[in-house]
Amino acid sequence: MIILLGVIIIFVFLIIIFYKQINLNIIVVDENLNGLSNADIYEPKFAINNESKKIYITATEGNFINKNEVLLKDNVRFKSNDFSIETEKVIFNRTDQTAKSKTKSKFMSKNATIASDGFNIHDKGNKIIFYGKSYIILK
């Protein structure tokens, strides 16, 4: 009975892993189709200049969408003295100094964490909008 239960658990676990693997493959294929896998810039660094603070933006790689907009990918990080935001993909507008992301994001500040389905940064970092079902933990 215990062995049978063990076999069932392992089987379910393998199905989940297999399913995840398929999803990962789809994402890789999708990215290749978009033709954005070849980065224009590696380890890009930008900054949003606010009157009171500076927000530094870093990522593993980036691609220019047009003259103003850059798609930042992998380990995208916004960091100021007050907070940081981590996500996987962001479109950063260098002229407007705005940023938008539709990927899972994690905001961290002193004793507070926000998880959301994406975010927008406006008004030189003063206004941050987190999208979708969002979740805050305050300590």
């Binding site: 987190f130 079902k133 305050l138 300590k139």
Partner: protein, 253 residues
């Protein structure tokens, strides 16, 4: 093998991110959050739920003002289908709008069918109910404003008063009530009607002004002005020149 480890890390990370620990406050929203860093507030949008060890709140939308960082809450405004419970202050309530000032421990519930319930007192109003926990001040304003506790029932359009802790129970030490039509107060000894009724615990006197009626035992006395001494249960009713004091003594035998 790497995939299994990756999967396990993702699973552990997502569980740890979404689980509230003791001492933490968890907030969930269906339609996002807007943070205004300079103005120091954030908006929680649609189907908001706040849960901590001592406090729960649900509402359609919530605005939270903060001092230093997001956790450092100074004021909360909740809008639409507000329902809350504070274990710490033993208070619960609901209404269309709630304002809570953390520093002053001041709570205001607004809208039709507003309720504020504590261990000792129940308050209802279609206007608003405001209670300052620090000093015991309370104010009910609007139609169907009512206050009940073990010893008293008050019904009037405006009820202003103060609670003080006496012998571990909250007792009313000051009261000013007004209703353009008629205010109603019932204590353990009598029922009182008047447009305006005042009570001061220091003088132990209930003052009734305009269109006064006191009903006690089988007596029903009407006049224009009355006072009731709560220490010896005596009362006095006067009338102005136009009307007379009227006494009706019922005989139930």
């Amino acid at each position: 093998m790497i995939l299994i480890i990756k999967f396990a890390i993702i699973l552990i990370f997502s569980i740890s991110l979404n689980a509230r620990e003791i001492g933490e406050t968890e907030i969930t929203t269906d339609n996002g959050i807007e943070v205004f860093q300079n103005e120091k507030f954030y908006l929680l949008k649609q189907n908001v739920k706040i849960e901590s060890d001592n406090f729960t709140l649900s509402a359609d939308d919530v605005k939270i003002k903060f001092e230093d960082s997001l956790y450092d809450i100074t004021e909360l405004d909740a809008k639409g289908n507000v329902d809350f419970y504070s274990k710490e202050f033993k208070i619960s309530g609901n209404g269309n709008f709630l304002n809570f000032e953390v520093k002053n421990e001041k709570i205001k519930v607004e809208g039709e069918g507003s309720e504020l319930i504590t261990n000792d007192v129940e308050m209802f109003s279609d206007g608003f109910i405001e209670v300052t926990n620090l000093n015991g001040d309370f104010l009910l304003e609007g139609k169907n404003s009512k206050l009940y506790n073990q010893n008293i029932i008050i019904i009037a359009e405006t009820i202003i008063g103060n609670f003080s802790e006496i012998n571990n129970t909250k007792e009313i030490t000051f009261l000013e009530i007004y209703d353009e039509k008629i205010s109603y107060v019932k204590n353990n000894d009598a029922e009182m009607y008047a447009k305006k009724i005042n009570f001061d615990n220091d003088t132990a006197t209930i003052e009734l002004i305009d269109n006064v009626t006191i009903i006690r035992n089988q007596e029903r006395i009407s006049g224009d002005y009355g006072t009731l001494d709560t220490r010896n249960n005596s009362y006095k009713i006067n009338s102005n020149n136009k009307s007379k004091v009227k006494v009706i003594i019922q005989n139930n035998e």
